[in-house]
């Protein structure tokens, strides 16, 4: 009797399963598609992000220049003719640039026209002339064709980052200026050249003069301070906890503490830096020393955790072998364990440094948002760092700063890629299988 119900139910199983099979496989395909779509979407965001940055930023590595035949008019530069350096230094070079442009583009220009004309070139053009004169006063009285950097507005239009059509919405150039641009193009007197200023200059209110070198140097100093502090401390802590520490409440506390520190928002570290490093120890505001110290505390947990993992990976047999030869615990670590764990520790450190390089919020707290034109000469000088420079430029209203921001992001990402590659190569090179 029971046997019969069993049998019928086995048959029913087969039938029911078959009947529902298509629906179940359709659900399976949908589910699988959802997974694939998530990955594609996530990767798509990455592509979109990088694409946006590159599209908006690659032209930042180029500088629009206009060929202008300038006259080093002695009447303007040095009316007295005695070549006094102060006179040469403070002469009205912008007028010379203006005159030269007018001579080329609008010989009978009125005041308004001349203002439009001088808005075509950057004030760097006059500066370029001033430096030529300072270096070699004998150019006075002569003429020269110079490639002068264009103003940010012309720069944007010429590179195609701003609309070009006459009267287009959001166009920063007047119709007259667009006409001049067309004429310069016709005669080949405008070009795009490698943007040296961007890679060698400090910050500036004028987008075409703004450079990232100051921020790069600031980042370098900050990271140097960070590395000097966090690497020895991190390695020492990792060695202590992994190799020597007794298992007790105190070391448990340290461990829990390190894990939690790793998850504390970085802005809180900034508050610590402000309250302790600036207000108690009076370290100079906006300086890489203060920034580096804060960053060191931020990446210390990363380095410790990576260091401990590297030490854990060294097999105990090596420690036993060294101990068997009569080495003291410290000798075992210093001679055998540490050298073997070092690649792993360095990898962790580089990754920690990469994180520190991109860290922004805590540095805002300690005043690294100041507008700093000078290239810092020491870790005590006020300076910007790359991510903060990006933040500052991103907040600027000029359209040309969007390009600078994107270009700076590309530089920052390049540094990060280089650091990560170094970490990967280090790992590959020293990867050991026990």
């Amino acid at each position: 009797m029971t046997e019969m119900t069993e049998i019928t139910s086995a048959v029913r199983t087969a039938e029911t399963v078959a009947a529902r099979l298509n629906r179940r496989y359709a659900a399976e395909r949908r589910f699988r598609l959802l997974g694939l779509a998530s990955i594609v979407l996530s990767a798509g965001f990455l592509v979109l992000l990088l694409g946006t940055v590159i599209a908006k930023g690659w032209t930042g590595f180029l500088q629009t220049q206009i060929a202008v035949e300038v006259a080093f008019d002695p009447q303007v530069i040095d009316p007295d003719g005695n070549r006094a350096p102060e006179v040469l230094d403070t002469a009205d070079y912008p007028a010379l640039v203006r005159n030269a442009l007018a001579a080329r583009l609008a010989p009978d220009a009125d005041r308004g026209t001349r203002r439009d004309l001088s808005a075509m070139v950057s004030t760097m053009g006059a500066e370029q002339m001033r430096r030529m004169v300072a270096a070699n006063p004998s150019v006075i009285g002569g003429r020269a064709t110079l490639w002068l950097p264009a103003s940010d507005k012309l720069d944007m239009v010429y590179k195609g980052q701003a609309p070009r059509e006459v009267g287009a919405d959001g166009n920063a150039l007047s119709d007259r200026q667009l006409g001049w641009l067309a004429e310069l193009e016709k005669t080949g007197q405008i070009r795009k050249a490698f943007n040296v200023q961007f890679f060698t200059g400090g910050d500036s209110r004028a987008p075409e003069q703004a450079g990232i070198w100051g921020a790069v140097v600031g980042s370098f100093f900050s990271l140097a301070v960070t590395l000097l502090i966090s690497f020895p401390l991190g390695v020492a802590t990792a060695v202590y906890l992994e190799e020597f520490a007794p298992k007790n409440r105190w070391t448990d506390l340290i461990e829990v503490n390190i894990n939690n520190l790793a998850a504390v928002p970085s802005v809180v570290f900034g508050l610590l830096g402000l309250a302790v490093f600036l207000n108690v120890f009076h370290l100079p505001r906006s300086s890489p020393v203060a920034g580096g110290l804060v960053l060191a505390l931020i990446c210390l947990p990363t380095i410790i955790i990576a260091g401990r993992a590297a030490l854990k990976a060294v097999p105990p047999s090596i420690r036993q072998a060294a101990a068997g030869l009569g080495a003291s615990p410290l000798q075992i670590v210093a001679h055998h364990v540490l050298p073997l764990a070092m690649p792993g520790m360095l990898t962790g450190t580089i990754l920690g440094m990469a994180r520190a390089l991109g860290e922004t919020a805590p540095l805002l707290m300690i005043g690294m948002v100041a507008f700093i034109v000078d290239i810092p000469k020491s870790p005590l000088d006020p300076s910007a760092v790359l991510p903060v420079q990006i933040y500052l430029w991103a907040g600027s209203s000029e359209r040309a700063f969007v390009e600078k921001t994107s270009a700076a992001i590309m530089v920052l990402l390049l540094f990060l890629v280089a650091m990560n590659m170094a970490a990967i190569m280090l790992r590959k090179k020293f990867e050991r299988r026990w």
Partner: protein, 259 residues
């Protein structure tokens, strides 16, 4: 006698079955018939291929990377490895109980109801309740868990967990139940209960059991197949194999000279 499980006819039959894991050949040219309505035990030293053979029957080997199966393996005359045959359908017909009890981290009720639910075997809640109770009853577990069906399956003891897994397999109403060393993780008392259960289930299902314990094979099975180094050495009635083996290798194994 009923027409669906004519006792003694061959339910599963392998002909020239080979299994490769990557470069390694795990099974060599197996010819084996497993009769319906009986318990067939697969014995042999570890690594002999008995589990591999078992896992071929419901195609669990599909999930192993690099596994390749050649030759033929049929269930009721239709090829298990036929492209047309659906794995889900196959596994609904061929249930499996694993070496380590692996109840889902769900309630006892949900564990048993899982199979019927995914296959849509119950038309309503009452029917599902009936299937679950029935299965637990048949697995000899109902009395122990009736009052705590909503507790987690993992809260049970090892032996109870394994019987829960058996109930879970029965709930789908399969034709064949594969058991991969079902008692190896259990204590002797739990083992005795499971063995008793296997004996009862024999009436309704074709059972294939892999075991490393010859006593167990002798206690629960009607037929025994002895595997060695990926080859089927000998197959026959359990009593015959244990009392009067034809092959010296079998003789050596059951007398404990190796294994």
């Amino acid at each position: 006698m009923n027409q669906f499980i004519p006792r003694g006819t061959s339910k599963i039959s392998a002909r020239g079955l080979n299994v490769h894991y990557g470069d390694k050949q795990a099974l060599h040219d197996i010819d084996l018939d497993i009769p319906a309505g009986e318990v067939t035990a697969l014995i042999g030293p570890s690594g002999c291929g008995k589990s591999t053979f078992l896992r071929c029957i419901n195609r669990m080997n599909d999930m192993v990377d690099g596994a390749k199966v050649t030759g033929s393996l049929t269930l009721d005359g239709s090829d298990v490895y036929d492209r047309q045959l659906d794995v889900v359908q196959l596994r609904a017909r061929v249930g499996m109980v694993f070496q380590k009890p692996n109840p889902f981290p769900k309630s006892i009720y949900d564990n048993v109801a899982y199979g019927p639910r995914i296959h849509g075997l119950a038309r309503d809640q009452a029917e599902l309740d009936e299937i679950v109770m029935n299965s637990l009853e048949k697995a000899g577990l109902l009395a122990e868990v009736e009052s705590r069906l909503s507790e987690s399956g993992t809260s049970l003891s090892g032996g109870q967990q394994q019987r829960l897994c058996i109930a879970r397999a029965i709930a789908v109403a399969p034709e064949v139940i594969l058991m991969d060393e079902p008692c190896s993780a259990l204590d002797p008392i739990a083992t005795a209960k499971v063995e008793e259960l296997i004996d009862e289930l024999r009436d309704n299902y074709t059972i294939v059991i892999v075991t490393h314990s010859m006593q167990q094979a002798a206690r629960v099975s009607q037929r025994t197949a002895f595997f060695h180094l990926g080859k089927l050495i000998e197959v026959g009635g359990t009593e015959e194999i244990f009392t009067n083996p034809r092959e010296p290798l079998t003789q050596g194994y059951i007398t404990g000279r190796f294994g």
